[in-house]
């Protein structure tokens, strides 16, 4: 009978190590799936998502604000922290850090639902892959 594994792997000792490896791998996959890094998509595709979803109101140029603040270095930034941008009171009071998780949560729903009172007009991005790609792109802009 053909086997994909070397003869030695079929020994009890080796079978034990093999099962242990599978369990460890499964744990790693689970951890990755739950972490922001697992959602990291294609940054190049994310640049296109940024152009169609965000670029009318935001740039990724440092220090350049449009209707919305610059998104340069947004991942890891304290909310409402660009000094020369006029934030809504709602976002000033939010007092959160734009982690990848926070951005994923924020962008996957209407902005006014995530932060009632915000002046951001955005209906949310429901396409999971596009959102992952976008977050990957934003993570690369710093």
């Amino acid at each position: 009978m053909l086997s994909p594994f070397p003869q030695a792997w079929r020994s009890e000792a080796h079978r034990g190590r093999w099962l242990h490896g599978i369990a460890l791998g499964a744990l790693m996959v689970g951890w990755l799936a739950a972490s922001p890094a697992a959602r990291a998509g294609d940054a190049t595709a994310g640049a296109d998502v940024f152009k169609s979803e965000c670029a009318e109101c935001h740039t990724v140029k440092e220090g350049r604000n449009k209707k919305g603040p610059s998104l340069f270095g947004i991942v890891g930034r304290q909310s409402g922290s660009i000094a020369d941008y006029s934030y809504s009171d709602a976002l000033k009071q939010a007092n959160w850090v734009w982690t990848a998780d926070k951005l994923h949560w924020y962008l996957s729903q209407p902005a006014k639902q995530a932060n009632p009172g915000t002046k951001m007009k955005y209906d949310g991005l429901t396409d999971a892959k596009q959102l992952d790609d976008l977050l990957s792109y934003l993570s690369s802009v710093h």
Binding site: A47, D48, K51, S52, E53, A55, E56, C57, T59, K61, R64, N65, K66, K67, D84, Y85, S86
Partner: protein
């Protein structure tokens, strides 16, 4: 002995038509509204956010929203001076006649927000009319009051009022003739056309109320009246092209528009009805315009943008005066006119654009009103290739721009004919439709 009306009609039989038609074609290019740097300064946006080709006039869905919001959107950094300017140098080469190179146009724009609910657009245009002489006129006006971020039945609602001077100029989709600045050239045209003789464009004043419901449904209704001829004169217009006295004028617009970020489409209907006395002391004609328009945009990641639009406007006319032609021929008391425009624009990198328009002007046969053949049909094309290097987020400047354009105007049918379009008698030099063609090169700067 002819009545003034008949003399007016007979004027169209003269070859003066040739100059008028060329002038009308050139007007289509010269009157177009461009990206306004004052808006870019106000919003922090780049020209390319609102205009596919970075210099206008074709609007992106974002540009439509800016217009719907009464030109009031801002980056929140205080008051910005709502003033811009534009200069345009043009080389014109008509198929017949002399070529010329001139500083053809200088514009002053008063454009921007006054408050969070009040904004506007006013263009004051100086056009070269002769050797170092310019005619200054009040061009497009659109002043708005808008109430934003309202809710109706849990859905978004925007309500606004526009005071404007060209029916259709205020339209957000910007496919109608007075907003797209694309309109068929011919001996006649609908009241919504800007290229028709005695068009209301810039010579009327009106108020419309509009609403945008649930981001997709647009409705508008309003009325217009023509400016007194003395006011038209003060505003820089030749009163010979007076649109006439208007009564009981109604403007109605309804459209569905859908912005899908990478694509956009719209379908709309428009109606305009008026009783027009032209000349003002004469009887009135009943004009009813009924039209529809379809548009589509592929925006993608903004590298390759395709914009398509089709506009079809039928005008039903019920003439108020009996009109007699040579030999006592009685003109019909009713007639139809139809304007159709199909435009395709491809834009690469929001910098290089090619726009092609096919335009048809057709109407009911009328030997008295449309001499010499009684056929008003005309077919024309406008092809524009342009380069606008700035006005994008990654440009040298986002708030000023340059545009180099080459434009071909092509007429293949006029007065229903391709050759001898003015019915020159044997032995006289006939005029071909192609003799009305023209080519122009222009350089424009906006700041």
């Amino acid at each position: 002995m002819f009545s003034p009306l008949i003399r007016s009609v007979r004027r169209w039989a003269r070859p003066a038509h040739l100059g008028w038609a060329v002038a009308a074609l050139l007007m289509l290019a010269s009157t177009s509204v461009q990206a306004i740097p004052a808006y870019a300064r106000q919003t922090g946006s780049a020209c390319a956010d609102c205009h596919a080709g970075s210099y206008g006039p074709q609007l992106t869905p974002y540009g439509m929203r800016f217009k719907l919001n009464g030109y009031t959107d801002t980056d929140g950094k205080g008051f910005k001076v709502p003033v811009s300017g534009q200069l345009k140098e043009t080389y014109t080469n008509p198929a017949t006649g002399k070529s010329s190179t001139d500083l053809s146009e200088g514009d002053l724009y008063l454009a921007g927000r006054l408050t969070d609910q009040v904004g506007g657009f006013v263009k004051i245009e100086a056009d070269r009319t002769g050797h170092d002489t310019y005619n200054t006129r009040l061009s497009n006006v659109d002043l708005r009051f808008v109430a934003k971020e309202l809710k109706l039945g849990g859905k978004d609602l925007t309500l606004g009022v526009s005071v404007n001077n060209s029916p259709g100029f205020q339209d957000p989709i910007a496919a109608l003739p007075n907003a797209s600045f694309i309109s068929p050239v011919g001996v006649t045209g609908t009241f919504l056309s800007l290229a028709a003789p005695n068009a209301p464009t810039d010579r009327v004043i009106g108020t419309t109320v509009y609403a945008l419901y649930d981001k997709n449904w647009y409705g508008e209704a309003g009325t217009y009246r023509s400016l007194p001829t003395s006011t038209q004169d003060h505003f820089g217009y030749n009163i010979a092209s007076d649109p006439g006295k208007l009564h009981d004028t109604g403007y109605f617009r309804f459209a569905y528009m859908k912005d899908m970020k990478t694509q956009f489409f719209s379908a709309g209907v428009v109606a305009l009805t008026t009783d027009r006395s032209l000349p003002r002391s004469g009887p009135s004609d009943k004009l009813t315009d009924l039209g529809y328009d379809l548009t589509y945009q592929y925006l993608g990641n903004r590298e390759h943008i395709l914009q398509l639009s089709y506009v079809n406007i039928l005008e039903q006319r019920h003439y108020g005066a009996d009109l007699f032609g040579p030999g006592g021929v009685v003109a019909p008391d009713r007639g139809d006119v139809r304007d159709q425009t199909l435009t395709a624009t491809y834009t690469f990198h929001q910098t290089y654009s090619l726009a092609v328009s096919h335009m048809l002007s057709t109407g009911t046969r009328d030997s008295v009103r449309y001499p010499p053949f009684g056929d008003p049909d005309a077919t024309s094309n406008m092809i524009t290739l342009f380069w606008a290097p700035f006005g994008k987020d990654d440009s040298y400047t986002t708030i000023a721009n340059l545009k180099l354009a080459a434009t071909w105007y092509r007429i293949t049918r006029f007065n229903g004919r391709e050759t001898n379009i003015f019915g020159a008698p044997p032995g006289a030099q006939p005029t071909r439709a192609g003799d009305l063609n023209a080519f122009s090169l222009s350089a424009s700067v906006a700041f």
